[in-house]
Structure formats: structure tokens, C-alpha cells
Amino acid sequence: MLSREEWLPLARKLDWDYTYVREDEVFPPVISGHPWLPHTEWKDWEESFKTSYREYVDNQYEKDMAVYAVRDAVGRLENIQKLAAPWMNSLKVHAAALPLAEFTGVIGSLRGARFGRDSAWRTMSTFGALDEYRHTQIPLLLFHQLVRLDSQFDWAHKFYHTNNWFAIASRHFFDELTLGQNAIEFAIGTNFVLETGFTNLQFVGLASLARESSDHMFERMVTSIQTDEARHAQIGHPVLAVLMKHDPEYVQYLLDKWFWRSWRLFSILTGLSTDYLTALDQRPYSFKEFMEEWIIDQYLRTLDEFGLKKPWYWDIFQDELDIYHHMIYASAYTYRATLWFDFVVPSPAERKWLRQKYPKYWDDMEAVWEQVAERWRTVGPGAANELGVHGTAMPTFCDLCQLPLSAGTPRKNTATVLVREGRKYIFCSEPCRWIFLREPERYANHKDLVKRVLSGEAPADFSKLLTEYFRLTPDTWGKDVYHGAYDWLAAQKTSSA
């Protein structure tokens, strides 16, 4: 009987020469990706962490049992009910955004499992698909029980099936990154940029936030997912290494495109949770500090390792670290009924902390929160007054990322209008405009929410937009966690009276 060291290399490398069909018929360029190279160029493809199917199953079984054990010990409803209210809403954000996005990763990974150009790559992608299926099932299982506690958790299943504006933006991202992608761009965009660059480390950071918030169930869940990510994310490196020999310019483009697109979504999911939805005394770091320590250093080192350059928009990106997610949070707070989770107004103590962490533009954000607080003072606290502290005009969205036009700073919004072939588009930022113009045929026909409303495809009436198009209800749409009843707000009112 062969030892593991003897049979595993044989099992990993199962390529053969085709005699009845051409290689480009087995691996059509349109779905295997660019550049199309003969297998001789891919034959040395090698993952750094090798595993067999038996080892994979044994390992995953152990991990699943560990998740169940933690759920049984500390993941019961009575445990979840003890969590701080803002953190519960961070959970709702992830409960909705995570599971079905991971399911799109199943599809993308299966494309690699069939159309990846070397058998070892295809084997790794098969494990990756199984991983992503697990990352769909675990959060659905864990979060679904919380519907009994709070109906907003129903959005774990519902989110991607709605035309909620954030769901439109998320689908626009994942449909391109995973569902409709060829094997090479999937490996670069998903495995190399999103997973190696962002989510692998995001899960480490999220686990730390969850631990600080005493949410041991979520901590265990993301830790378990992260160990899978760390394994299948390594598919990206050897793919990139081959591409660099043949078309480094294309590699640079893919990296720059997907880093920006990933940053946009990531800054919202993680930025809001880190700086607003985690209790002040439980924040281990600011979102910017997390980005600098965990994401940026590592990403730049990897670029350097492959002889790649920083993205051309690096200065814009670095500037956004100080402001973008703050612009989004304030915008979303004032349009919270358009979302499926609740928000808080940052208290004076939290704003002091935010000023220390984000001195560059905080004066402008402080003015916004003062104005929001003043409105609560005027209308008074209470659930009945929620819509008195809510936006009424239609927000606007970027034609590339589909997120609100909230880039730049409050003093200078960077949105730009483009006229192309008689149609008008608007982009939140130069990188979004650049991505659109590199592949306009890919994006030009997608309608953002404003254009759907103007064409009659979505209702213009705000209440119908929320209920019929976004599929929210008065029970599930977002509110202020405290309906404006903040001790600090009452104290300010008293002292100013």
C-alpha cells in the first residue's frame, strides 16, 4: 500500500493529453479565462497546503462539531438576548450579507473545479466549493433560530432575494465576482484579492470583535469559517504566479479592479460594525487601525512579492480610510428604514473616540451628528417619532458599485457624471468610473435604483418602495435602537434648557 506521500501527488495530478478533442474545447477561453495557455504552462501549479478528501472530511467534521458544541453551550436564545443591542445589529448585517454571498462562492468555486487549468487547482476548488457550501449552511442554521427573538434576522434568508438597495449593490458585486466569472478571474478576484486580501483577515478581526462583545457563538462561527478561507484562498497565489509570466498588465488590472470593489463592500460591512455597532468599551481598535494593521501591510507585501505596483488610486483609497464608512453610516442612519437592521446615534463619548481615531475629517461628521441630535431634541424620543428623524428625498447611487453617492468628504463629494453613447451615468469616485470605462459592455445596461424609479420599474412612492420593492415591513425596517431616548441627549436638553 502506498504511503500518503506517495499516493497524494498521484491523486492531485490527474491531467492527461486529449486525443478526441482539442484542449481549448475542453477549457474554452470564455469560461477558463484569459490568458488562455496550454496545459504545459500550468503543469507546475502547486498549492502550498495539500490535503486529501479523507483528511478534508475528517477535519471539517471536527470543526462542525466544535461549532455545534459552542452553539449548545453559549448560543441559546437566552445567551444571545444578553448581547448589547448595537452588536445585535452588527450580527443582523452579517446574518444577511454572509450566507448567500458564500453560496455564490460555491458556484464560482465549482467553475474552478471544472475549468481550472490544472487538476490540482480543480481539486482545491472542489474543496473550496464544499467550504463555501458550509459557510452558507452554518450561518443560516445559527441565525435562523434567532428569528424567534427578532424578525429582522429573517433577512439571513431573505436579503439577496429582495431589491433592497444594499442587496442590489451586493448582487452587483457577487454576480460579477463569483456567479458569472471565468475560472482565472475568479481565482484572482475571489481567492487572491477578496479572500487573501480581505475576508480571511476580516474573519480574524470579526472574531476578535465578537469576543470583546461576549458573543462566543459568532466568534466560533467566523473562526471556523476563517480556517477554511485560509486554505482555499491559496488557490489565488499559484494562478497569479503563472499569469505574471504571460500578462502582468492584465494581472495588475484585475487586482486593482477587485481591490477597489472589495474595499467598497468591506468598508461598509466591517467599518460600521467596528466603529459604530460595537460598544465603545468593547472596541479593540478602530476600523482604520484594523485596515492598516491587518489588510494594507499584508496586501502591499504580497504585491511586492509578485513585482506588482500599488493600485493607481492608492492615495484616494488611503483618504477614504478616514471618511468613507462614516459618510455611509450617517447616510444610512438617516435612511435607516430602507435597511433591515437598527442603528444608534454615536454618543458624545463615542464621537470623542471617533475624533481621536479620525481627526482628519471628523469636524464635518460632528456637524452632521449634531444636526441629527438636534432633530431628536426637536421631535422628542419615541417610536412614533422615528420618521421625523428620517430622510425623505430619494438618495442617489453609483452606477458601478450601486452604493450611495457618499464618496469624498461632506465638503466635496467626488461623484462625477459620464455621458456614453447617449446615456448618462454617475459614479461615486474615480476608481468606480475607471472600472466602468475599462469594461463598459459589462456594466452599461445595469440600472441603479434611481433609474429604476425614474423608468417606473420601482415605485417612486417612498412607502411603496420600502414595502413592495425592498420587501421591508414596519416591523422589520431599520429604526434607532433607542428611538432617540439617549441619556446623553436628555442631559444635553436639560443643561441647555
Binding site: 459618510m327 428620517h390 428625498a393 442617489t396 463629494n413 457624471v417 454617475i426 425614474l454
Partner: protein
């Protein structure tokens, strides 16, 4: 027919869709944007209306100003341009 425009108010955190009536003045349109963003931005009386990179006469009507559907305009504090 109202003309949908992208309005950006200095101090705000996002752009808003504004429906401009052909007969209303540019100043009225600016005030409409200020009102729509008042939850986030305190009203400023002295303002400039910026269209195509230039401050335009606030007394012009929307029709006279020549706005096209889905153009961008900005409302900023006077003298900031």
C-alpha cells in the same frame, strides 16, 4: 415635466435626487435641496449654486439655466468656489 437632477449640498454625506420644475428659480431649487438635507446639514442663508463648475445666477429659472436630466448641481456656502 420635472427634471430629475443629482443635488449635492456642502456638508452632506450623500447626493440626493431633486425634481426640478422648469418654472422654479435656481434659488428655489437650492432651498429645496437644503430642506431635503436639513436632517444632516444646518441651513446656510448665503449660498452659491454651482452648475458645470461655475456659479450661476440664482434668479434664473430651471429652464433658463439649461439643466438636462440627471445633471449634477452643487449648493455651497457663498464664496467657497
Amino acid at each position: 415635466m420635472p427634471i430629475p437632477l443629482y443635488g449635492f449640498l456642502e456638508g452632506d454625506t450623500l447626493g440626493l435626487l431633486m425634481l426640478a420644475e422648469e418654472g422654479e428659480t435656481v434659488l428655489q431649487l437650492a432651498r429645496k435641496l437644503q430642506q431635503a438635507a436639513s436632517l444632516r446639514v444646518a441651513r446656510v442663508d448665503q449660498i452659491d449654486f454651482i452648475y458645470n463648475g461655475k456659479a450661476i445666477d440664482p434668479g434664473l429659472t430651471v429652464a433658463q439655466a439649461g439643466f438636462q436630466e440627471l445633471d449634477r448641481f452643487d449648493v455651497i456656502s457663498r464664496g467657497k468656489l
